[in-house]
Each structure stands twice: as C-alpha cells, then as structure tokens.
Subunit: 341 residues, 2 copies
DNA sequence: TGTATAAATGAACACGTGTTCACTGCGTTG
DNA sequence: CAACGCAGTGAACACGTGTTCATTTATACA
C-alpha cells in the first residue's frame, strides 16, 4: 500500500508492447512514421498500464513546459478575480496550465518572472505592474512570449491587449450629454494603474471634443483605491459649488464607494447626479447599486492574450501588437435609459 | 539579439570557476562537504554568469517539483477569491509556486489532479468538489499529500482544514437570542457545498441546545447560489406568518441578495429582522449592507493547510488530521451590538 | 615517519522524454 | 536481376540536475 511505487515510464509501455521506447514516443505523439497496427498496440498497452507522461521530463527535453505564467495583484478585487477566472479558464481550455503569482511590488515581479523562466513557461501574462525591461529581455532571450493586459507600453516584442478606454469614455460622455449634464467630474485614486489614468484622460478628451470647456470638468483623486477610497472621496467632496451632474469613475469599486459616500450625505443617483464607472463587476448589478457601467469583454481579452502568445511562439520576431477590445455601456439605474415618451 | 541563446547551465559555472559540476551543485545546495573558499568562488562565478537552476531538470531528478496544485471553483465569488489570494500568498511565502486549476465538475477535477501528478507537485490543495477516491489513491502512491479546505471527508491519509461551523452557529444563535429573537430561518441553496449544509445543521442544533423548538425554525432553500439566489429567495418568501426575527445565511452572497430582496418588498434589517451570514467578505462591510457576519480566518486556514502538506511530506503515513479553525462574529448593522444603556 | 582519519573533489549514473541517425526489409522500377 | 527508394524500427544522444562512490589530498596521531 505505501510502497515506493515505481512510476510507470515509457520504457514499461515499450516492454509491455514488445517494442522499443522510441516507438512508444512516436505512437503517442503522432510524429515520425509508424505502422498502424503497432500504433494501436502501443496505445492499448499504454492505456492498460495507465501510462502518463512525466511533464517535467517532457519539458526538459522540449525546452518548454506547458505552463503559462500569470502575474496578478490583489486577487480579491472583483474585477481582477473575474479576469483571473477568465484567464485560467482559457489557459486550461487551450491545453496549458496556469502558474499564478501574486505580486505587489516591482521587485516581487522581477523575482517572479525569473522563476517563470526557470520553469521554461510557454508564455507570460502580466495583468499587474509593468514588466521590467531586464526581465523582459531575459524572456525574449529564452523566446518566451510576454503579453500585457489592460496596459500599453512600447516594449519591443511584447504584445498588449487592452480594453478600449477611449471608446468607453466616449460612450459615457455621450450618455451624460443626452441627459443634459453640463458639469462633470471624474474620480481616480492616487497611484492609479495605467488604465485608470488613461480613462480619465480619455474622458476629458471626449468632453473637449463635445465642446465642453475644461472649467466644467473637475478631477477628483481619492487617497486610496477601492470602495473605501471612493467612499472617502465622496465624504470629502467639496459641495460649495453643488454637485456635478455627470460623474465618471475609473473603476467599479471606486464608483460603489463614491455612491455610498454620497448616500451618507443625503444624495443619491440618479436623483442628484449621474454616475458611470468602468468595470461591470457582479456587484454593480446588485439592487443596492445598479450602476451604469462600461463592460469589459473579459472572454475576448483572455482569448486575444492567448492568441498573442501562441502567435509569437510561432514567429518570435514579429512586430509588437496592440489589440484594443471594444467595451459596451451597460445602462442601469445610476444613469438610466432616456425615456423618449 | 535574437540568437538561440544557449541557456547557461551548472556546467558553464563549473568551467568558469575551474571546478567540476558536482562541486557547483554542492556549493549552491549546501549539501555534502565543500571547502569554504571553493564555495565562495563558485557562488561568485554563478552570480557573475547569472546562473539559475532549471526547475524542470531539478524536479525530474528529485522526483518532485516545487509546485503546489490548487483546485478552485468560481473564482470570482468574493469569498473564494479571498481564499485563493491567501493561498497563493502563503504558497509563495513558503517557497512554492501555485499551479491553479478551475474545476466545475468532478470529471474535470479528475483530469486536473491527473495533471498535477504529471507535474510531480509537492502537494494538492482542494477547495472545491470532493477529491475522487481513485485520484487520491494515485496521489498517495506518488506520495503527494492532499489537503482539503472547508470540507471534511473520511479519506485515509488526506488532511482537512475547516472553519469551525459549529462554533459559528453558536455565536450567531447566542447573538440572536440576546436580541430576544424567537422565530428563526436559515437560508441555503440547492446543491450547496458540504460546508453550507453543515452550517445549517449546526444552526438547528445550536437552537435546539438553547431549547428553541424545531417548529420555530424554518428552512429556506434557494434555487441557486449567490446573490441572485438569495434575492429570489427573499422575493418568494412566504410572509403569511410574518417574518422570522433571526435569519442565518450559509454564505455572504446569499445574505446580501436576501437583504436586497427584502428591501424590494419594503423590509429591512435590523428594523424588521436580524440577519447574520457566514463569510465576512469585503462587500459585507460596505455601507449599503453592513452585514453582521462570521469571519473566517483566511490566513490561518491557509497556513494550516500548508502545515499539513509539509508535515505529511515528512511523514507520509501519519493519521489523517482534521483541523478546525475558529471563526469570529463581526457585529454590524444587520444585527447590531446590544445597547446596554 | 608511518598510518589512520577526515575532508574535498570529480567521474559516473539516474531521472524520463523527444529526436536524430543508421539499419533492415520490402516493393518498385529500370 | 540489380538498383533504388521508402516505411518502419531501435540504438544512441541530448536535455540539466542531484547524488553516490571511488579517489585524492590534507591533517592528526601514535
């Protein structure tokens, strides 16, 4: 029962089938030439013995494991966990395994990526932090493709997949304008991600294109991220000039917090202001919030990311790609549909 | 720039330091005897060349990789993502890497665990589904320790770490009784996890110990899990006999949904009923919910799980352990502190 | 000084796989 | 009948590491 259990190898299958080990490898990998009846015989023997390849040996030989490294941060954040779920799902679906690492500083990220190369991963997906140049170079030297999600940098040979923040800002702006909003604010937090900053800039730009002067646009920077940051920002909001009618949030957590903060001061959406946040997290759909949000197409983001990895695995030196994934406006209670009646 | 990049091996370090490869191995692993000056010389050479061991070769040789397989389901669920975050954090902290797999059926779980053995993982942590006997046997034969979190089964050589549902039910019951509640309900969903069922039973038992007759306890089974399940259950709740005063939920998502469902019918906590749910997820702390919850000690769960793995790696045949981790009552608005004034 | 003991080192093997290369036997063609 | 090509096979090597074992060197002791 508790014997050392010699694990069964391709050699065992070969002995059992009366062929050489090389034939076993060919029979199972569909490479090289092999007689049909030998093949079936070997496969039968393998099944009978319950043979399973040793991924470590296989990877060592191929100089590549079927692992894909995933870098994430703050997994419990609702959007991030949804993205991670999508990534893992897609990774498994395409026959890989997810090596997930949580990273909170760039130093950690460096150590992490080093370990990825030590495992000879087939690819690296970065959803947090910005890949340090030295490590990216290391990956490039090992011919390990790297792709970033929801960030854009100009790194040679590194692809990026990103939700279309510009389009999202335009969708939000149009919706606000249809409601007749004429004063605006946008909320972000100090030390925001690249995507957060980008969304704010895109919002300002979209308003400018719509001939809304910059004096009608107020920028609010919360001291921290997440619900608490948004709540605190609302509690500290300067109301001496009244509330802006259209408020745009860099992410859903900030938006929920901001809404709850305003409620504590006696204001609510859409009665007193309109609110649109990025990231259509499950929570935003709940009765207590019913936020109008910009939905990121998570399956598309994940699918494109893996496309990039596989494509670059085939031709490692192709030019870096930047793929923008469209977002869509999910209209809910905090800035409802416009009644045409 | 895009040359094949021969990766540097221990042999290269050996050549560079003018010793044999075996010495390199000893210098870096602190095993076997080695002259101090040779050691520093080798380490210097390794650093100079930027040598990093190949984990695949290392694992192949040791018959064990430094990977730990983690089985999860529905990652985007708030409690599950918090648990996953804690696990990954703890796994990295102890020098392993997390191989994360999402699983939705027992068939998937079987395939997954098979792949874990193919990677010769150092351990498997199951947070979803119940480990199929055949696969557990396979792991046992490979001497791969398996530990389950928040479930208990009687499987030889498999350890379990579980929040103390009984204690949680008692805490909730005591709190309800102090408020003078005399009619109760508990909410779960059809096809619940083992933990969910257990919590309901423990609640009934705690009430029975407090001399509350079973006719005062109502059981509600939602058709599905999560917020939507709880909301639907509240909307369908039979009010002909009025509302129970003390309502206990198997998890936080159900509780949030139930609360919002009741609000849609004009009821609210703690005005019309008291509500306590398991899982102190971030959302429950938010202003719109402020749920009184039972907090699971996630760091302790994760730490104990890894303790089990490491302990069983040292002595594989020790008796199966069941570790109960205490929970604590977080008193918030839906069943507030009792005013002694 | 000779010997026993310990420390330090390198050659060799094992881990399990994929792939190259030489070889055999067979059918085809000139 | 000879020559040729070709499908099928197995021996051997490479991947990079950890560890055993024999060998060499230095040290202590009688």
């Amino acid at each position: 029962m508790s014997k050392p259990h010699k694990s069964i190898t391709a050699q065992d299958v070969a002995n059992h089938a009366g062929v050489s080990r090389a034939v076993v490898s060919r029979a199972l990998s569909d490479k090289g030439s092999i007689a049909p009846e030998t093949k079936t015989k070997v496969i039968a023997a393998a099944r009978e013995l319950g043979y399973q390849v040793n991924f470590l040996a296989q990877g060592l030989n191929r100089k590549r494991s079927q692992l894909i490294g995933v870098v994430v941060a703050r997994i419990k954040d609702p959007f991030r966990s949804s993205l991670l779920e999508g990534l893992i799902h897609m990774i498994q679906r395409r026959g890989y395994q997810a090596l997930v690492t949580e990273v909170n500083s760039d130093k950690e990220l460096e150590a992490t990526m080093r370990q990825f190369t030590q495992f000879r991963v087939s690819g690296v997906i970065v959803t947090s932090g910005q890949p340090p140049a030295t490590l990216v170079n290391e990956c490039v030297q090992f011919k390990i493709p790297v792709v970033g999600i929801n960030r854009e940098l100009d790194i040679p040979l590194v692809d990026f997949v990103c939700s279309d923040n510009q389009q999202g800002a335009v969708l939000a702006t149009d919706h606000f304008l249809k409601w007749g909003c004429h004063r605006f604010a946008w909320l972000n937090y100090a030390g925001s991600t690249w995507a957060g900053v980008q969304r704010g800039l895109a919002f300002e730009q979209a308003l400018e294109s719509a001939k809304v002067g910059p004096h009608s646009v107020q920028q609010v920077i919360a001291e921290q991220d997440g619900y608490e940051g948004g709540e605190a920002a609302a509690l500290a909001f300067d109301l001496s000039q009244g509330l802006p009618q259209g408020i745009f949030c860099a992410n859903a957590q900030l938006a929920c917090g901001f809404l709850d903060g305003m409620r504590q001061r006696g204001f609510d959406a859409p009665k007193d202001f309109h609110l649109i946040g990025f990231d259509n997290t499950p929570q935003t759909a709940q009765y207590s919030y019913r936020l109008t949000t910009l939905n990121q197409d998570i399956p598309a983001l994940c699918s494109e990311a893996l496309n990039c990895l596989e494509s670059r695995n085939k031709s490692p030196n192709q030019a870096a790609r930047l793929i923008k994934v469209p977002v869509s406006l999910v209209v809910r209670h905090t800035s409802p549909v416009i009644n045409l009646g």
